[in-house]
């Protein structure tokens, strides 16, 4: 492989898979809120 091809391969992996990793980290930092369902409609 040429040097430019190797660089582009690394850039592609870092941006896309890195983006995926960041997205997963962001989601893990915001854990799913417990659903207090069914939310009582006032009188309950």
């Amino acid at each position: 492989m040429t040097l430019t091809a190797i660089i582009m391969m690394i850039v592609a992996m870092v941006t896309v898979w890195g983006g995926l990793a960041l997205a997963i980290v962001n989601l893990a930092r915001h854990p799913e809120a417990a659903e207090d369902e069914p939310t009582p409609p006032v009188e309950l």
Binding site: V16, L27, E32, E35
Partner: protein
Amino acid sequence: MANATTQTKRREAFGSRNVFILSAIGSAVGLGNIWRFPYVAYEGGGGAFLIPYLCALLTAGIPLLFFDYAIGHRFRGSAPLAFRRMSRAAEPLGWWQVLICVVIATYYAVIIAWAAMYTWFSAQITWGKGNEQNYFFTEFLQMGDLKKGVSLEFVPQVGIPLIGVWLVVIIIMALGVKRGIGAANMILMPLLTLMFATLVVQALFLPGAVDGLNAFFTPNWEALADPGVWASAYGHIFFSLSVAFGIMVTYSSYLKRKTDLTGSGLVVGFANSGFEILAGIGVFAALGFMAQAQGTDVSGVAASGIGLAFVAFPTIVSNATGGSIIGVLFFGALVFAGVTSLISVLEVVVAALQDKLGWGRVRTTLVVAIPVALISIAFFSTTTALQVLDATDAFINAFGIMAVALVAVIVVAWLLRKLPALRDHINRRSSFRLGWVWMLLVGALAPIVLGYLFVSEVRAKISEPYEGYPLWFLAIFGWGMVIALIVFAILLTLLPWSRRSHAKLDPEYDEFLVTERYEPDAETGTIALHDDAAKGARS
């Protein structure tokens, strides 16, 4: 109130946010990721394609994904019901999406059936070394001529596995959102990732693999000056993420109220692209081997779609050491990626009719899926299946999916002006907040790009008959089909919603509107809402 809630069946829901995310990834990752992306990227400048591709992902793909999530989650319904709740006049958009999904499901299933057969063939190289092309078109598909019209001649080696695919899919659908769709994705998606990763590692060890990767990643910077390359990046991202044809609206309507929509969407968007990069590496490593084995350049063997999967890959399987394993992994991956996408397409249809008729899951699934399966078997297990598939796919992509997306963004952003409300709905529960940039991307950039792509498709399809098919054939399976979808969408909108349908009776939705302090729904709001609650909602 409590009685009303317990008497009416609760809307189905995904077991957890992670199940939703895996199901949405399962929907987005389909055949296109494996057999389309590698070639589109290669043709569009190799490594340089990364730039338009990432731009398209960030400025169109993910913003439109959020747009779909917002509609489905805010209006909590299948595509027709969600659009109806947004505005009565928008309901035909939902039915148009439903009908598009009906058409896609009919032919998507047969590709899965071929791939399932080829998983089996790979184990014993049934096609015979050197006979790959002839085997697929002549012996397996028994491809006939269109001159005698559309054939009704049943090809058993295609038809029987196709029936099998439908049986499996109908069982998954009948089990419901949680136990069927969610469970299938929880099993198939990790398995698909594992299989594909193994395939890629194996492909990388083939002689010539490095040449394939070199061809795939070497940037051709001049390609960036070509508007066609940018258009193909946007077009690809758009189809790849399965946005704007009802799937993501339907899936997000099964999310719990307090779900981080954008945080989930970012994972789905990047996971889909992550899979594409993996597929690009695997496919081009294998093509590098094929080029070396045939003594040509990678450019001489690069292909996409059916040619890549059912001619090039069998050739690789015949020639590589351990080829059978590569074949089983590759075709098995196609089957799994296809099934998870097919169930998402069908769910658009099942959910719409469930909402419209107020029926239970199993009954609706059977009433919807059996006729779709019969149409699928009638058209796609015969000797002219490939031509019908090719024309239908080309026309539904351009004048179905792309057209409905274009109309939907214009209607929602400009006529109904709902983007600020959708943005606020998303921001109330999401980690990644949206602002005017998102509205600009969905309201301005998306219509411009989709409009450009749509016009160029119209020009291309009008200037000469698609693939040189006979005019009567294109008039039925091309133009006629796409126009019929719009006509039927309007007719379906005119059919009244019964009193039992979710448009008229949905206490859960009323409750949701109250807790969210949204205006009560014009139709469901007529049922017993507690006075104070109703006042609270209106204030």
